[in-house]
């Protein structure tokens, strides 16, 4: 029940935030979902996969195409976006299972992501090419999504539900098994734990969550373009998970909230974005590899229990 404190408190945000700040908060919600999904594979399962932007993009483009070409309302595209991401995640897991060497997964997912981006660019009318697709105004079961406030409440609901589900999973025997696979896959199998099944599960669920995040992103930005889902975006995802804390759900939230607003600052100075986020990865790896969540756990005891159990 402690889980709901944060979302409930967040309900008050629209009362004090101006539209720009509200937009930022909405973006943070999207990235919370992105980080939670990514952390599942990168932190909990411990697999080096470069698929996250691909999953993000597939969800965003699926939602955008269904809304722009087929006229579907937002509430109807959420699950298909998630399923598209899940399918891609599933494909990645198949590679992970076949993996003979550790880096194969990283390389294949990198190639796959860039291949997808190429197909967005060359998708002509379907994907809108380099200009991308405009996402039409839509509604969520009647609630018009034309204001940042309306979007906030809808996003908050979706994000809370999904993050709670992931939290439940991480604290269960399945979450434990996933981390066990990371620490020692062979020993995990010796305990009658179906390692293959759980690897597939982690990737597929990650894809589902990040795919839905993509659909939220499409509505929030109002346009999907191939450039949004390339390697520049990927380092932001990596940074959020590392800075927040690999394997920690709380960390995913902290990382997303801490870093979402930053890219805006760097837009004006070419090169600063890459230098900052690259530098951030380096600094955290050297100084605080367990991320902000470990720092938080050191200060406040109740957080430590949660951190360990989610590890």
């Amino acid at each position: 029940m402690r889980f709901y404190i944060l979302p409930l408190a967040a309900l008050a945000i629209p009362l004090v935030a101006n539209p720009y700040t509200q937009f930022m908060v909405n973006l943070m919600l999207v990235y919370v979902l992105v980080a939670v999904g990514f952390n599942l594979v990168l932190g909990n399962l411990g697999q080096l996969a470069f698929a996250n932007t691909a999953l993000f993009g597939i969800g965003a483009y699926s939602a955008a195409m269904l809304m722009a070409h087929a006229g579907w309302p937002f509430w109807l595209v959420i699950v298909p976006a998630g399923l598209a991401g899940a399918a891609a995640g599933f494909l990645a897991s198949v590679t992970a299972l076949r993996g003979i060497r550790v880096y194969y997964l990283a390389i294949v997912t990198l190639a796959f992501g860039e291949l997808l981006r190429w197909s967005y660019i060359h998708g002509e009318r379907a994907t809108g090419g380099t200009d991308g697709l405009a996402v039409p105004n839509s509604h969520f079961f009647g609630i018009a999504l034309d204001s940042e406030t309306a979007r906030f409440y809808v996003f908050l609901l979706i994000v809370t539900v999904l993050v709670k589900a992931v939290s439940n999973l991480l604290q269960s025997k399945i979450g434990r098994a996933i981390v066990a696979i990371r620490d020692n896959e062979l020993a995990t199998a010796s305990l009658a734990i179906p390692t293959g099944r759980y690897i597939v599960l982690a990737f597929t669920l990650s894809g589902f969550v990040v795919g839905i995040a993509g659909s939220l992103f499409a509505v929030l930005i109002g346009r999907v373009i191939p450039e949004s889902f390339g390697l520049i975006e990927l380092i932001l995802h990596f940074a959020m998970v590392l800075v927040g804390g690999l394997g920690s759900l709380l960390g995913s939230v902290l990382g997303a909230v801490a870093l979402t607003a930053l890219p805006e600052f760097f837009r004006r100075f070419p090169g600063l974005y890459e230098m900052f986020f690259g530098g951030l990865l380096i600094v955290f790896l050297l100084v605080q590899p367990r991320g902000l969540s470990a720092l938080a756990a050191r200060w406040w005891q109740p957080l430590r229990d949660r951190y360990y159990r989610e590890h």
Partner: protein, 251 residues
């Protein structure tokens, strides 16, 4: 009951095991000894499914298990420990034992995802059982420490607790006494005897410490060069000339 018939294992040109036949019964401790490289751990890997057989069969209570994956064999009741430590380093001792109870926790995927009462109850039950197991083994105070912070002896104890948590009928222990101080070794001997005697578990044990083997084993099988060269009661093996020549004599 575990039954190996004419088991052979070959690694690209190297015959690691040849024509090994062996029977292990519930309630008895069956020790495997022999010099390094004799094939003992390979035999464990073959039994538990990590290595494929090139010849022979392995059956558990009559049903063949060779060719199955490690997790399938484990599901049939086999548990083991690993020579190089098979614990989950980042997890606590308690969480390691809980992982050992995984198969016993009755929670469905949907139940877990939606936080059903049944799923949460199953988890609480497992938690209580895991704490009890640690307490019975005298290591309750280590429960919440990440196992990578524990000493070698403590780690081996936790690994054994994890392995027996789900009451397996067959247990493979790979050099459990390495690095243990004498008083802890005595506890280990006691533990193994109890597992076999009180719980009726069939225990297969790889050990180099001859004194420990003599104290705990019902049957000793001696390996050298991938072949079983002798098998029998400890006292008999001690006097076997072939064994003395190959192994014990060099100690």
């Amino acid at each position: 009951m575990l039954e190996l018939q004419h088991v052979g294992v070959r690694f690209a040109g190297l015959q690691a095991l040849s024509d090994v036949s062996l029977t292990a019964r519930g309630g008895a401790v069956h020790a495997l000894i022999g010099p390094n490289g004799a094939g003992k751990t390979t035999l464990f890997n073959a039994i538990s499914g990590y290595v494929a057989l090139s010849a022979g069969t392995i059956a558990l209570d009559g049903a063949p298990i060779h060719g199955l994956t490690p997790h399938q064999i484990a599901a049939k009741g086999l548990r083991r420990t690993f020579q190089n430590g098979g614990l989950f380093a980042e997890l606590t001792a308690l969480e390691n034992v809980l992982a050992g109870l995984h198969a016993r926790i009755d929670a469905s995927f949907a139940g877990i995802l939606f936080g059903s009462r049944a799923a949460r109850a199953a988890e609480r039950e497992a938690l209580a059982r895991a704490r009890e197991l640690l307490r019975a083994m005298g290591v309750a105070h280590l429960a919440d420490q990440p196992v990578k912070t524990l000493s070698g002896g403590q780690q081996r104890t936790i690994e054994i607790v994890r392995a027996v948590a789900a009451d397996p009928p067959l247990l493979l222990l790979d050099e459990p006494a390495v690095g243990l101080a004498p008083p802890v070794r005595a506890q280990l001997v006691d533990l193994i005897r109890r597992l076999a005697g009180e719980r009726g578990i069939a225990v297969l044990l790889i050990e180099h410490a001859v004194d420990l083997v003599m104290a705990v084993a019902d049957v000793v099988a001696v390996f050298n060069g991938g072949v079983k060269i002798a098998e029998g009661a400890p006292a008999v093996i001690r006097r076997d000339p072939a064994v003395l020549e190959a192994y014990l004599g060099h100690v």
